[in-house]
Symmetry: C3
Subunit: 678 residues, 3 copies
């Protein structure tokens, strides 16, 4: 059974609640700090992410440091029972640094160096930037690593992007030398004989460029891996002086939903606690279920990255200012979306930002304190309600884990490779959407899910779902084979087992390493036009399919469904292979709803996977659970866009907010949530 995890900070052993705080924007108005502290307490906030872009305020001239305002802020916090995730300010350089040392600025794929501006655009390799960061972080660590208000380090901000400067080119070449050893190995892995691309000297290697090389898939995926590694290397460089001063203080870097640029499986190894920034586009459709399940998947992903409670580092208390349409949160939604994070394993609810900026590009992004400056706003009341709710939950739920018996495989280099592949459907094969489509079935069923990489240990799972496992090396293939052989249930799909870790096709028949496990051979795969469709009958019901149709031959697998049309009508569309003590399912085409929910309901039942609630849930309503191994904390959440009634099962339930006993039916208003102890 799972256990209770220690709090993220022993200093603040409750749910953290707060926001990004940038007092450096208000140094000209000293009265603001005191007012902010009053409002923070009023809103039941207890933690701020502090000084995220404060470099210009901390070092206005090279070598001149001005920590007084930060001292004052932290002391004021300490005096008022408030805490801070103290930021390193590397997310944006001061103008003097860009001017004096242009090498700190990123160079684009077009080989043009950025001018000073915006943010998140420094070179991760630049020796000067690394030196400046080391000095800054050293000073911050020296001064604040033991400050009573500091609960941890917020390193830089939303790491991402890439640089193509000469330093980075050299670093990439060194990375490749370490990986491949010889040019012969590299040329083979990148299949460089194609189009005479053979490299005869390491110095000939250039990172991908629109006016150079974009289509050597092996290089592309290596470049993405290098960017991840170099970013992590930079993170570790930032972290070193911080840890040197106080090894006990946790550090994190805020991540982003399904962010494409970095392999978070690797990045998660570097951070002490995973944190991320969630900005759902609520209220774009009548039902919120599509958005909610997408973000539920992300919450589960970020929990799974380290297999323990994570942090919701940023979210908006109101609207964003960068989506195509800025919707206000309807009544109930702020609490519901905040508690959704908790339900999936977050131990914090934090916002961007505390007080709205007066100027520049984010001045209309939602914040706890609006330009009007007082607490008498709908948004402030919503935030306060969440603060109060978190206080009611902390003693029960904080540190509780998640007991999932279903795993969904999601991998970054698979994702990169799929997007890079030319054919079979360049207008879109929709890897991420497909993964979330499978996930959503479990979400609707109220079944807990972990997200895993293809290299994960699968032994804890009764059911493993691995859609479009395009990039699958032999070792990973053997692992899945062993999983099935040992009694596991595996579901995979078309476009799996196609290439190895270098994006070289498996020879000898697809799905490559899984051919034996699945008991089939995939001869051809074709794309469908948007106006095309096919379909199949499964378990007595007809389902439509679209986008891709795999033409397979059973080599032992049982055919569960066949195509209904086109020249391959009658050929297998869904198969299962009994292998060892387990079963391996293969879905040959992208089915449409409601296939997945019915399919996985059946498989889950067969595999002995329990639902959080032993009853049927209305569409758009999910139940998620956390547990300390003894008690279960059940979150019943209504994202359907309409009031709903949910039947409880026979267990005894207590409402976590009121302490009242609950039985029978739960009435959930639109955007309603109930949190129960079982």
């Amino acid at each position: 059974m799972t256990k209770r995890y220690p709090p993220i900070s022993a200093k603040l052993p409750v749910f953290m609640h707060g926001a990004d705080y940038n007092p450096d924007q208000w140094l000209h108005a000293p009265e603001v700090l005191k007012e902010d502290v009053r409002l923070m307490k009023l809103s039941h906030s207890n933690v701020m992410a502090l000084g995220i872009f404060a470099w210009a305020a901390l070092e206005p001239e090279e070598g001149v440091f001005t920590f007084e305002w930060l001292d004052k802020t932290l002391d004021e916090f300490a005096a008022n029972g408030l805490y801070a995730w103290l930021a390193t300010p590397s997310g944006a350089r001061p103008a003097w640094m860009s001017q004096k040392y242009p090498e700190v600025l990123r160079v684009g794929a077009n080989r043009v160096r950025n001018l000073h501006g915006a943010r998140h655009n420094h070179c991760y390799t630049s020796p000067v930037y690394r030196e400046k960061v080391a000095i800054m972080n050293g000073k911050l660590a020296e001064r604040y690593a033991h400050h009573p208000a500091v609960v941890g380090w917020h390193i830089s901000n939303e790491f991402g992007g890439e640089c193509h400067c000469d330093y980075c080119q050299d670093a990439f070449r060194e990375w490749l030398k370490r990986k491949y050893g010889t040019l012969e190995a590299l040329n083979h892995a990148w299949w460089n004989a194609f189009w005479a691309h053979t490299i005869t000297d390491w110095s000939q290697i250039q990172s991908p460029a629109p006016h150079g090389e974009m289509a050597v898939h092996g290089m592309n995926v290596d470049w993405r891996r290098f960017v991840t590694d170099q970013t992590i290397d930079f993170y570790r460089w930032e972290e070193a002086p911080l840890k040197a001063a106080n090894p006990a203080l946790p550090a994190t870097a805020n991540m982003m939903d399904l962010f494409d640029g970095l392999d978070y499986w690797k990045f998660a190894e570097a951070v002490d606690v995973v944190s991320w920034d969630a900005y759902p586009t609520w209220h774009a459709e009548a039902s919120e279920a599509q958005v909610a399940s997408w973000f539920a998947f992300n919450h589960d992903l970020f929990r799974s990255l380290k297999g323990k409670p994570f942090m919701l580092m940023e979210s908006t208390p109101s609207l964003t200012n960068w989506q195509p349409v800025s919707k206000l949160k309807r009544p109930g939604m702020h609490k519901l979306s905040s508690m959704q994070a908790i339900a999936h394993g977050s131990d914090t609810v934090q916002y961007f930002q505390w007080r709205k900026s007066r100027g520049s590009s984010e001045k209309f992004h939602g914040a706890v304190v609006d330009h009007v400056g007082h607490e008498h706003t709908r948004v402030f009341r919503d935030v306060t309600e969440v603060g109060e709710t978190l206080e009611k939950l902390s003693s029960d739920v904080l540190g509780a884990g998640t007991d999932a018996r279903v795993a969904i495989v999601f991998d970054w280099d698979n994702r990169w490779a799929i997007r890079d592949a030319q054919g079979p459907r360049n207008m879109g094969v929709h890897y991420e959407q497909t993964v979330v489509q499978h996930y959503r079935a479990f979400w609707e069923l109220g079944i807990s899910v972990d997200v895993v990489s293809r290299h994960a240990d699968l032994s804890a799972y009764k059911l493993v779902v691995a859609p479009m496992m395009y990039m699958l090396d032999d070792a990973a293939g053997r692992k899945f084979e062993a999983y099935v052989e040992a009694g596991g249930t595996l579901v995979t799909t078309y476009w799996s087992g196609i290439v190895d870790e270098n994006d070289l096709c498996h020879l000898g028949g697809f799905p490559g390493p899984l051919r034996k496990t699945l008991g089939l051979w995939s001869e051809e795969l074709e794309g469908l036009h948007p106006h095309d469709a096919n379909g199949f009958v499964y378990d007595g019901a007809a389902y439509e399919s679209h986008e891709l149709c795999d033409l397979i031959h059973s080599e032992g697998a049982e055919v569960l469904a066949t195509y209904e049309s086109d020249f391959y009508a009658g050929r297998p569309a869904l198969t299962v292979n009994r292998f060892g003590r387990g079963k391996a399912y293969y879905l040959a085409t992208r089915a449409k709803e409601p296939f997945y929910e019915r399919f996985y309901a059946k498989l889950a039942a067969e595999a002995g996977v329990k639902r959080v609630l032993g009853t049927e849930l209305p569409a758009g309503v999910t139940a998620q659970a956390r547990t300390d191994g003894e008690n279960e904390y059940v979150f019943v959440m209504n994202f359907s866009g309409a009031p709903q009634t949910v039947a409880l099962d026979a267990h005894a339930y207590v409402d976590l907010e009121t302490g009242a006993s609950v039985t029978g039916e739960l009435a959930l208003p639109t955007n309603g949530i109930r949190m129960l102890k079982r």
Copy 2:
């Protein structure tokens, strides 16, 4: 009462009628000039805009000037009773200049210098270009400032665009130093503490760049203001030698419809007479009313810029060659659209161009003389009809003014700031379209309108409409307050009073400086998706609204309508506040038609604003008037796309073309116009 303005040129005290004329394209065919003069007279033309891109013909080598062909053209004009707006040729440099002095070429925001080519792409700051322009203009002035055929100067062509070269960077920095004095002031105004953007040396400032800074709103708006000022500075530099030779000769620069790049309120101060180039896209829809009202707004804007008759410097006698589809003018449309300009205050009707070029990019743009070369074309007959009509009108209408009691506020830096704002609806808040939507109500009602900047004196107006006054500084706010207090009627909307002149948000509650005048507080503003709608009931009728919904609290204002749906149903959607002796209306959401026409009909009646005709007009038909203070000249124009009948009021009317008395009803064919003296 208004008065009669003096003619633009005392040499030609009639309506001017003519076209751009480029004899430098036909120097190899000397017979063309004599034929052109014959055709000009045949078409009842009297003025040409001469030599607009003639630099290569005037100075084929550096320092070698060839004015003979221009002498000949002007002498021939003089001999035939024709006149010229003589152009300075700076709109395009000769190739030798670009080659020898690359600094004359513009540098893009990407910091890449243009190659020679196209036009309108010189640097306004370049010392070499300014020197070359001064020499050229000095020679032109010396030779032609007193030529009998020259009625004025056409300076360069369609000023616009920007340059990011080092000269311009320095000029921008100097402009900022003059404006802000200290870096502290600049850093505050630009809210540079955000993202560590604090500037510590003036030399760190760089103009906006896609690979640098694009999102510092204060800088963006300052850059646009600088570009306007630098362009005006260049205009004045061009004008100086011309005025030195003959201060009496008027100068103008042709402007463009709702051109975004320059603040025409400022630019208008520099020119002697406003002129502009109008290219409506007629015949794209069944009714022409949308296009006609857009151009009517522009005509009113260009008249209002200096508050006196303006020039229609360019229009096409037929089709354009640069719109997505080149439509021919249907019968009647050439006269109707030409007279529309006169109706709104133009004292000229001019075309681009006289004779179609044989080659290059504008060879298929409509012209008076087609490639066929003779006068036996539909277009030539249409042009001749306009020439004859203008001759009939000159003695009455020339120099007559416009007596408007309604003003609509339209501001360039407000427009720039609105477009720059991130949120509340990045897919479009449609400032210009909204302003014209309000305008169109008056156009349909046949009510004369002035367009004013937010700094204008409002005392002459009974009704002031100021949609989306997003950028509103305290001083302007006080002016509007005083206007209402003194008895005026003000209408403003959502997204008003948000930022000051530096794009810094007003603190303490929106709509900032107007909160007291309007008697309300705006707490939140949300964007609506394209598929979303809301609505309200006003004066017994229901109206739809879309795009933006402002959630306001009355602080004294009377609620005239409330939202009908969403979680803010029942909250105010339209209010009026009695303040001093006046009234201030606030429309909280973007209403759809037919709200505006009904709303403004009622307000105009209450405010005592008269319609041009005291009868109801069919949709798509407008009546506009000019007056010399004694007689009124009424233009009844049918843009409805179908024949219409208009009832006259009880006044006595005389047809300006026929001299016949008119009473009862006017029958207007499709694209028909009647011009009456009252």
Copy 3:
């Protein structure tokens, strides 16, 4: 009458069948070659296009040549009765060359030099590249020009693209000097007086650039002509050492369908045999007729380029990997589309490629041998069937010609000029689609068509169709006049006779040189919006028209149809002028189907043009013929997407595949084809 042409290679006097073969990708797996030879023979293949991108394998270091693998491949071929089109490898340079001599890399219109990468991106002017190519080709020629397995040279690959480096700028200027002699002539031709573009020194000329000049139409068309000439010059440079070694060995360069970048009329003069790469997007719609007629037009074009059998150099045996959706070929389609090429005059069916690459950007492009590696695939069976079919046909059809009495005019510089023109409908006038629309009528009727340039000898044709002959110089105009005068039937349309060879408008009335022949004057041309339509009645039936309406005056032509709506209702929409002994038709607007098929059925009958089959064909079914002057070989092809029945005429037919006699009706399944000898 036509005659039988000699086989492309006397060594292999049968239909060639094979694929691109890149053994340089498999040098690490020597067993592959033997297996490939086994499979080639098994699939009834006899020829491979060999080593197209093998430079890095042939010259791994500068001056170090490694021909052993190529020796071995060719010797193995010779030993097994297989042949090769041996490629020069210039389509992609090795990395060492790009690194050491950056000048070999192309410079874009933005004046940025490419980095190494991709393919087809070398400078055609670079002295270094030419030197390296000469050395490589000399070595290849020396070693293989007399190898028994080599049937010809495949020079480089898919020539195209352009370079803007300084070498190319100089070459362009020299080309212009040779063409114009004086700057005065150039300035006139380019109409450089417009916008002061007059060039006063050759060095001022710069190739078109997005940040320079894009709208001097005369320069644009000259630049395109220069690019063609420079590419041909490079081709000849490549060919010289090859021909020096063995003048008898034919050389070709593979072309692409309606490729825009090169004037194939000129390029075809340089090659010994025309070859091209066909990649239809089958199975995107219910009927294949649109795609099939487009490719039929291309087959006819490529046959017409040299007026003799051509080569289908590349096609896919399965799917492509670069179209938006990768469709598999349905049963029958591989044979049908392969035989379509034969029907229109190809003497080969070749594929890209033989064996699927394991990695990089084309690894999912269809190939004869899939990653699975064996012959037990649907695709391999389809390929084998085509090989067997070709063997059955060779003795009859190989070398047979095409006897067309209809010509359609298609010209590259006309195409470039039309696209460049600004107005009359910038959203699209659809030249290529219009030409193919006219062509399709003949295709549906089963009438053989040649494609000709406007400079072609027309005397063999009874009917000449010349849609949108926008660019038409006086000499070409006189030729068409003489054709009609001598008894020919000419059909042309709106937007004809507008500009001369320099893109200068004809003065004195459109359609310029054809005004007398057509007996009409075109006064105005207007564009229609997508929602606009007009129409006319012809021969008792009503037809819709759209996009463009020409307003013409008959000057002797008989009016066959008039517009039905808009202000020009009643004016001529279709005319015919009897001129000399012939007739000249003018279609003033873009008609919609089914006008063209009915119109051309009537004209063909009147002009005595025969259909291949003397019966009516179902829609989507065509009949095409080849002939040796004695026998006719009739291909009846069903692209309708459904089974069809075709009635044969009274001739005697023998099935070319079975030898059986055929009479009465042919039953064609979906994608069916029957090949008959008459």
